[in-house]
């Protein structure tokens, strides 16, 4: 299992704040600034410019920060818990489960509030992630690459169930629209629930070290006095909340959780605690860049960020795979 994540080097724990990180923050800050001032509507020329700015641009930018950081951290937590570098919500079916939960709520209660929809998505994402973890625990794997293959197939199964329900209820095209992640609809009054994922982020920071230990396996975790089952459950719950909320408010952000932690550990090695801020930062940065590209390439129209992420993410994923292949 050469794709497993090495335990953090004990003495080499980096300082949380170093000049490079500050520089990173500055760069991402600039990107976010660009996001605030990019758009068709001329916020300086028009009378209601300030109002539009508050209704659309600020929420959208906050949405980018929250969703980008949350999905990148979900990917990291999943990779820690499974000790597999190629695992994240899109390669384990978690996103598809969240979509299924959302769809079921929409069918049963078309007038449901956004909070109800979110609960449906979160519960389904939790169930799906547990199914996947259960699978990992019951099967002895010869290769770490089998894991994402099975995960993607699992996602396809759930996806086909969603499709079936959508066809029966004539919602196929809307399903596609929800599922394509896009920040277009992140407006004041509709996005506030996204703040929930900020809590997830804080929780991950607090318990990050335990996830690393749990990732070493049930026996080692128990040896050092941790309750393995509880940590896995907690991790799953955090992933489910992040994925569910982001899926409902923004949509699917494919591969983000996969490419961000991998790039960070390629550059910085595997020291979890000092990597966490970088994972958040890079997650936000990549989502923002993709969103900016999506907003500008066919102005005045928008390309959903999930399309750009899907294509960019696929390319990076393939590059990571090939890199790993070359290094045995």
């Amino acid at each position: 299992m050469s794709a497993t994540i090495a335990a953090p080097r004990a003495p080499g724990r980096g300082r949380l704040l170093d000049p490079a990180l500050l520089l990173g923050v500055a760069v991402v800050g600039l990107l976010l600034g660009a996001s605030l001032f990019t758009g068709v509507y001329d916020i300086f020329g028009q009378d209601d410019g300030a109002q539009m700015f508050a209704i659309t641009r600020i929420p959208r930018t906050i949405g980018l920060v929250l969703a980008g950081a949350a999905m990148a951290m979900s990917g990291l937590v999943m990779q820690l818990l499974t000790q597999n570098r190629f695992v994240e919500p899109t390669t384990t079916g978690t996103t598809e489960w969240a979509g299924l939960g959302l769809l079921v709520v929409m069918i049963l209660a078309p007038q449901a509030s956004i909070l109800t929809k979110m609960t449906g998505a979160v519960v389904a994402a939790f169930v799906g992630t547990m199914v996947f973890f259960l699978f990992l625990r019951r099967v002895s794997l010869r290769s770490s690459l089998i894991v994402p293959i099975i995960g993607i197939m699992l996602g396809a199964v759930v996806g086909s169930l969603s499709t079936f329900l959508a066809v029966k209820t004539n919602m196929l095209q809307s399903l596609g629209v929800w599922f394509a992640g896009s920040f277009t609809s992140v407006l004041r009054g509709q996005y506030e629930l996204l703040w929930i994922v900020a809590l997830v982020g804080v929780a991950v920071f607090v318990v990050a070290d335990r996830f690393t230990v749990a990732g070493l396996g049930e026996e080692i975790a128990t040896t050092v006095g941790l309750h393995y089952g509880r940590i896995v459950l907690l991790g799953t719950a955090l992933i489910a909340v992040a994925t569910g909320v982001v899926t409902v408010v923004v949509g699917n952000l494919p591969f983000l959780g996969l490419i961000v932690p991998n790039i960070v550990s390629l550059i910085r090695g595997d020291d979890l605690r000092s990597n966490l801020p970088w994972v958040c930062l890079l997650g936000v940065g990549i989502v923002t860049v993709c969103d900016l590209v999506g907003r500008t390439i066919i102005m005045p129209f928008e390309v959903p960020v999930s399309l750009i992420l899907g294509v960019v993410g696929a390319v990076v994923f393939v590059a990571l795979l090939l890199r790993r292949r070359r290094h045995g």
Binding site: R138, I152, A156, A180, V318
Partner: protein
Amino acid sequence: MAELTAAPAPSGHPAPAGTAPASGTAPAPGTAPPSGTAPAAGARSDAPSRRRAGSGALPTPRARRRFALVLGSLIVLSLAFGLGYLALDNPMPFGSEGFWIIAKLRVTTLVVMVLVAFCQALGTVAFQTVTNNRIITPSIMGFESLYRAIQTTAVYVLGVAGLTALQGTTQFVLQIAAMMALSALLYGWLLSGRSANMQVMLLVGIVIGGGLGAVSTFMQRLLTPSEFDVLAARLFGSVSNADVDQLPIAIPLVVLAGTVLLLRSRRLNVVALGKEQATNLGIDHRRETILVLLLVSLLMAVSTAMIGPMTFFGFLVATLAYQAAGTHDHRLVLPVAFLTAFVVLSGAYFVMKHVFYAQGYVSIIIELIGGSIFLAVILRKGRL
């Protein structure tokens, strides 16, 4: 019926006992007596060393009887569903001109089912063998994403007319060629060279499929609802998507690929032992793998271009076939898988048409059952 069941056994499908020469005097198929030349293994531990179970596919008389029974039932069921589909509920009176026209249409559908069953069954079993993994299916390797992308692009660019533009035989050949080119590129790139790795190849295929999927989804968003409705019909596997003009092209391709696979089934048995064992036994593993994968691509490409995506049908059928056949030998598993596929497909159409009057949902139902079985299989303890 009894004559019909017996007829195909010696010709099309290798008979069980003929392939299991316990001691050179194996009994003829169907007659397989439990006593005599081939006593049951383990029946008597003091049996002299000459009187022991064979090393063939079905070592014991019990296994042979079981296999014969399975094969027989599958043939009977295939014929029943096939004939039932042709004859039942024909609105025109028997013997009238209209009766024959409808029957003829149904024959076409039936031929399509046979082709699809053949493609998916052989394709999936062979794919699982060369990838050494019993729970994956070749459909995830990007064929379907490519198909969806092609169909969506056509509608996106040309509107509803786009679909009719895709219907001709030239376009059919081009679609198959595009899918073959994609897979040949993938295998040539990732399975040759010093660091060839099957699983990397699989994942890259899946991820490329995912990227194509994202592009299709985006284009689908921009379609008008009426255009989307037309497209949606093509995005689900359905035998009614097939065109009678495609058959003269599809049949020879499928027969060719299927024959080559069946002829190589003894080698497939060895490939199933894994790369190192196969090499030890003198198989050129890489060459064999690439050849089989190309044949699989051809089968999957024909099936997908003809009727559209069927993601879990192959998985369902292969899993059932291994359970039913009770042997590792591809000479027996492949025909059983084909028959199983046909029974499942024609049975599903028969039941949905005559019992539930909901023919349009067949592929979705098959997908759901296949998907559930997939879930059940991965949650069972095992080793991958």
